[in-house]
Amino acid sequence: MTFYEFLERRYDDLITTGLEHMYLVGISVLLSTLIGVLVGVTTYRSERPREIALAVTGSFLTIPSFALFILMIPFFGIGAPPVIVALTMYGLLPIVRNTITGLREVDVATVESAQGMGMGRRQRLLRIELPMAWPVIVAGIRITTLILVGIATIGAIVDGPGYGSFIFDGLARVGSPVAINLVLSGMLGVIVIAILFDSILAVLGKLTTSRGIR
């Protein structure tokens, strides 16, 4: 059976699995963004909290993904939940780091003139600092998305949905001709999703960034 025939035969399965994969990554990126931006906003001002935030989210990324997924089982069982939690943890660093960088790069004079015009702390953050830091934050979200699309495949070891199942199936049948097809199609699916997500985020980022700072 050629790879093309394989794709034809497993077409429906590939699409369903792809949608599951996207759902998994989509939720995790959303959670990472919410938590990451919040952490960035609360820590960027002072050195100590900033360093702690970066150290902690950075250390998440050093945990081997196999280990982390398995460690999640006692708390979240198997299937999608442990995968989402683990992915959210992995996705924090780029977003936290870019939020902090973006907010710290906002010109002090601009913030001072906002303050001098009578904008309070919260107004300055929401109306001046975050919109100005937004392109940098979006860049972080895009990196997170690419990382998570890849790591999500490992989630198959705790029975998580997504293309990981194809790859693990292939692994279990090493030696048989279908093994290569399974791994190849899983990999191809991951690449397609990565490109798709990245293009969507590029467009979204552009639409949500003011023309004045593009």
Partner: protein
């Protein structure tokens, strides 16, 4: 008798009171800022009265505390001692955000919001004050007109699409948006090239003549201080007042060596920044209309000793300089195609210094004075400037003599 200071000036004001001025808008009383871990206070017990409707300049060497002083007025920096009285009300402990919405603020970097359009930038304070949208829109257009920027062209542009001078204008428009009684300006023209700066300074003075705001203006440049200020506070380290007086007084009677050193040399040249073209007797020049025939032009040239006639268009705007040889060479071409273009024009509110700068580089060593619509008013030449310097020096000497006589009288009595 012992000479203690180099220039004894009995009338120089070294306190913070604005003698002889109108009602006081801002009063700083014993204001101080002591940063933790610093041996000396940045601002040490400053008392200063700022009269309503005047531009008061805080000027001094860098590190003297002038910017700190200004930023304590809108409490960007919180004072550690003393009081700020704004329009009779103690605002030292008022809500800083409410206070700042009533005070216009322009800083050197301008600090326009890059992600907002010019209209949105200007609308910031009116929105904070909760104005209706209609009123805000009208205000935006009005202010853009005020700073000579066509609303329909600039309303929806972003700051990055403007030149430095235009950004500065928008910065001023934004600071005026909530119609504040008080404006704070921290080196507002500091980051702009010298030629544009001169123009913007003149524009700003013309604007101030209309709006009459109370303005606290920080600069390190004594020439700018003399040009812009109704009153100048020369500050020493710790924001201590070396002299608080009108520019004229400061140039004529520096209170002490610090002030003399700070003014530097050439006080009489600096005085050129105090007089304006509108206060001079303008020299008249032979003028002809753009449609006149050459014979009429030759008549005009013959009737005067100037050698050149100024060609004016229908709106009396200067178009060309022509001389008799130009006419001969011109071979009956229209008057606006021969001779030289008029390259040096100044408006009546320009200072003599501006006029001098212009005429030195001009073709015929004269500066043409035009009104706001560009129509010809007269001429400033080097003779009229020399004459003005002579008059000012005589006046200054006379004033200094008055001080001496008062002193003598006191000693005799």
């Amino acid at each position: 008798m012992t000479a203690t200071t180099s220039t004894p000036a009995p009338s120089a004001n070294t306190s913070g009171s604005a003698g002889g001025a109108g009602p006081i808008m801002i009063k700083l009383e014993g204001l101080g800022k002591q940063y933790p871990k610093e041996p000396k206070p940045a601002v040490d017990n400053l008392t200063l009265e700022i009269p309503e409707g005047e531009i008061v300049i805080l000027v001094g060497p860098s590190g003297c505390g002038k910017t700190t002083t200004m930023k304590m007025i809108n409490r960007i920096i919180e004072p550690t001692s003393g009081q700020i009285i704004l329009d009779g009300e103690d605002v030292t402990r008022a809500d800083p955000d409410q206070l700042r919405r009533k005070i216009g603020y322009v800083i050197q970097q301008i600090g326009l919001f890059p992600h907002m359009t010019i209209a949105e930038n200007i609308a910031t304070v009116p929105k904070l004050l909760g104005w209706e949208k209609k009123k805000i829109d009208a205000r935006i257009d009005e202010l853009l007109e005020t700073v000579s920027m066509a609303p329909e062209t600039y309303r929806n542009r972003y700051p990055k699409q403007l030149s430095g001078g235009q950004r500065q204008r928008v910065g001023v428009a934004r600071a005026l948006s909530g119609d504040p009684a008080v404006m704070l300006m921290d080196e507002p023209f500091g980051a702009i090239d010298p030629i544009t700066r001169d123009r913007l300074q003149n524009e700003f003075l013309r604007l101030q003549a209309e709006v009459r705001k109370t303005i606290v203006f920080v600069t390190h440049d004594i020439d700018e201080a003399i040009k812009m200020g109704d009153r100048i506070a020369i500050l020493q380290e710790g924001s201590r007042i070396a002299q608080y007086d009108t520019p004229e007084q400061i140039l004529t009677a520096p209170a002490n060596d610090f002030v003399s050193d700070f003014i530097g040399r050439g006080a009489s040249l600096k005085r050129l920044n105090l007089s304006r073209v509108r206060d001079m007797n303008l020299t008249q020049w032979p003028t002809v209309s753009i449609g006149d025939d050459p014979a009429r032009v030759l008549d005009a040239l013959r009737a005067s000793d100037k050698g050149f006639a100024l060609v004016l268009d229908e709106q009396r705007r200067p178009r060309r300089w022509v001389s008799a040889p130009d006419l001969q060479r011109g071979d009956n071409r229209p008057l606006d195609q021969i001779g030289l273009p008029p390259d040096a024009t100044v408006e009546p509110q320009a200072t003599l210094n501006d006029a001098l700068n212009e005429l030195i580089t001009a073709n015929y060593s004269v500066a043409i004075v035009v009104d706001a619509s560009g129509a010809y008013q007269g001429i400033v030449d080097i003779d009229s400037i020399t004459e003005a310097i002579r008059t000012m020096r005589t006046d200054a000497r006379a004033r200094a003599r008055v001080g001496l006589e008062a002193d003598d009288a006191a000693q005799v009595g």
